[in-house]
């Protein structure tokens, strides 16, 4: 009998009770669920399986179900128009959609999500010719959407809209620059209990995040309740634009925040 790892001391429920909802679903049930999700988002458009256009890197067994790091790798970056991320068994499976602009290098993006059950995670790349291509990865986690934040709602909302933008490595002319965007936002899932009122805290999540290099778009991201608290996005930008990097975030309750960051200095 396997013991339940990482439960009793912390909130590390992610290692997964054997009885976690969704754990026992058959492949056919998972396939049917994915079929429904595709139908609702892409209607009758064909979605081909791919081994080359996108791959998903995620821990097979999440360390923290409320913060599961996901890496999407898209080596044929020049063909990529955008990418969708779905967490099939989350209450709202549509987790994120990136649409890349001319100032993006879409070969790799990272984000952090909540995972509520043992689930398939799907990425769907839309190529510039308008076609859709899917890849899948199975993740074991449990309770990520309803996991309490461990602080009051007021505390969780402190500094909401604050942002940081960091650049990695040496910046060479003409070369992509690694960037990390951090946004302070509780991203309430709507499934977390408010500790004072004992009601559920209404969902309040980052709905849209836009990054532009001067006037040239890098990406826009449509988010949902599956993004983890204080969203962090790792991406790469091309030094195509001029002027500052502008970031705009808005949430589903009318919150809107704008920040401008100095573009990375080129070292020759």
């Amino acid at each position: 009998m396997r013991t339940i790892a990482a439960f009793a001391i912390g909130l590390a429920l992610s290692a997964g009770p054997v009885l976690a909802a969704g754990a026992g679903d058959s492949d056919a049930e998972r396939e049917a669920r994915w079929g429904e999700i595709k139908q609702s988002v892409f209607k009758d458009r064909a979605v081909e399986k791919t081994d080359t256009l996108v791959s998903i890197d995620a821990p097979a067994r999440a360390l923290d179900a409320a913060l599961v790091p996901i890496t999407l790798t898209m080596p044929q970056k020049d063909r990529v128009k955008g990418v969708y991320l779905f967490i099939d068994d989350n209450p709202s499976p549509y987790a994120a959609h990136f649409e890349f602009g001319p100032a993006a290098d879409p070969s790799e993006v990272k984000l952090r999500v909540r995972v509520n059950n043992y689930t398939n995670v799907h990425a769907v790349v839309e190529t510039k010719d308008g076609k859709l291509h899917e890849a899948v990865k199975f993740v074991k986690a449990s309770g990520g959407c309803s996991a309490p934040m461990g602080m009051s709602d007021e505390e969780a909302m402190r500094g909401m809209g604050e942002m940081r933008l960091k650049f990695g490595g040496d910046v060479k002319p003409g070369q992509p620059v690694e960037a990390t965007l951090m946004v302070r936002h509780p991203n309430f899932s709507g499934m977390q209990m408010n500790q004072i009122t004992r009601d559920y805290t209404p969902a309040r999540y980052v709905q849209k995040l836009s990054v532009a290099y001067g006037d040239t778009p890098v990406f826009t991201l449509d988010g949902d309740i599956s993004l983890a608290t204080n969203p962090v996005i790792n991406f790469a930008l091309l030094p195509e634009g001029r002027g500052p990097i502008k970031v705009t975030a808005s949430d589903n309750q009318g919150g809107r925040w704008e920040h401008s960051f100095d573009a990375p200095a080129v070292s020759n």
């Binding site: 990482a6 009793a8 001391i9 912390g10 992610s14 009885l19 790091p69 934040m149 009051s152 209990m193």
Partner: protein, 314 residues
């Protein structure tokens, strides 16, 4: 309803329940595996298992115990489930018929809190950190549900709230000895309560002190390091850790804990500064500590995650 239970009982009677792991274990079976040690006069501690909660161990993984004073009993930690608390209560009854007057809820984690339900009938004073109530509000039901998934239905015990909330500090007099309580800043969790027995000089830092078992971070890394300094100032030389041997020399034990937490902090900061993402950091940070702690592989990666999301905003 009246005929139903009998029929069910008959049906279950034909099954070998002991082969169903989630139904197999109870207080009686916890019994055989544990003994209490008298670590100071009239002070008894049971060493918890270095395991995670399972149906087999009834979540009896924390160090729990009690102190018998002139005027009554104080429970220092309640245990990880109703069964674990019931075991402790039975052990108390074997040693004294004095009333159980006080029960300490050292922090919100289930392996320390869920034994409390076993003491409800004693109507004791449940003492906890001023932030414990809201932490239980936020997490209690969630913990209970998950614990029941592991232990089986009805085996977790209900969530018990403190009746005495400690904001800064307070004292409890058992007639012949005084216990001094301190409500700490956010450290291991946001609601850590420590206790000093002024008679024996023994410190009960609960889970602010892990020994042998890898620490688990669920509050603030910087805050925990700060509270360690505070624990050093209490003048105690021996302590009962939340996990580990029933007593330890305080200074070297805090030294080991500080070394782990400092390594975790410094290497996480370094990873953040070097642009190493959180997923990669969980695989690289604090590896030098791996051989020094049990359950390292189960908890270290998660500790890095918690540390990273705290420190990346520094």
């Amino acid at each position: 309803m009246s005929g139903e239970p009998t029929r069910r009982a008959t049906l279950f009677g034909g099954l070998c329940l002991c082969c169903l792991p989630s139904l197999a274990r109870s207080a009686e079976e916890v019994d055989g595996r544990f003994t209490l040690e008298e670590v100071a006069p009239q002070t008894f501690v049971r060493k918890g298992l270095h395991e995670d909660a399972s149906a087999q161990n009834a979540d009896a993984i924390a160090n729990i115990g009690f102190i018998v004073g002139r005027d009554g009993v104080l429970v220092t930690e309640t245990g990880g489930s109703l069964a674990d608390g019931q075991w402790l209560r039975a052990e108390i009854a074997k040693r004294t018929d004095k009333p159980i007057r006080h029960v300490v809820l050292s922090h919100v984690h289930p392996d320390h809190c869920f034994g409390a339900a076993a003491f409800l009938e004693d109507k004791p004073n449940f003492i906890g950190h001023a932030s414990l109530r809201e932490a239980l509000d936020a997490r209690g039901a969630f913990y209970r549900e998950r614990l029941e998934e592991i232990l089986g239905k009805g085996r977790a015990g209900q969530v018990v709230y403190p009746t005495q909330a400690v904001k800064d500090g307070t004292e409890i007099d058992l007639g012949d000895r005084t216990l001094r309580f301190t409500a700490h800043g956010v450290a291991h969790t946001p609601c850590d309560l420590s206790m000093l027995d002024t008679a024996s000089g023994l410190l009960f830092p609960a889970d602010m002190l892990f020994v042998e078992r890898v620490p688990s971070l669920d509050g603030s890394l910087n805050g925990w390091l700060k509270e360690i300094e505070r624990l050093k100032g209490f003048g105690a030389t021996r302590a009962v850790p939340g996990h580990g041997p029933v007593t330890v020399e305080l200074a070297p034990a805090l030294g080991d804990l500080s070394r782990y937490l400092t390594t975790l902090r410094d290497e996480t900061r370094k990873a953040i500064a070097a642009g190493i993402s959180i997923d990669k950091a969980t695989e690289t940070v604090a590896r030098s500590e791996r051989e020094r702690w049990t359950l390292f592989d189960t908890y270290n990666g998660r500790n890095v995650t918690v540390a990273y999301k705290e420190l990346e905003w520094e």
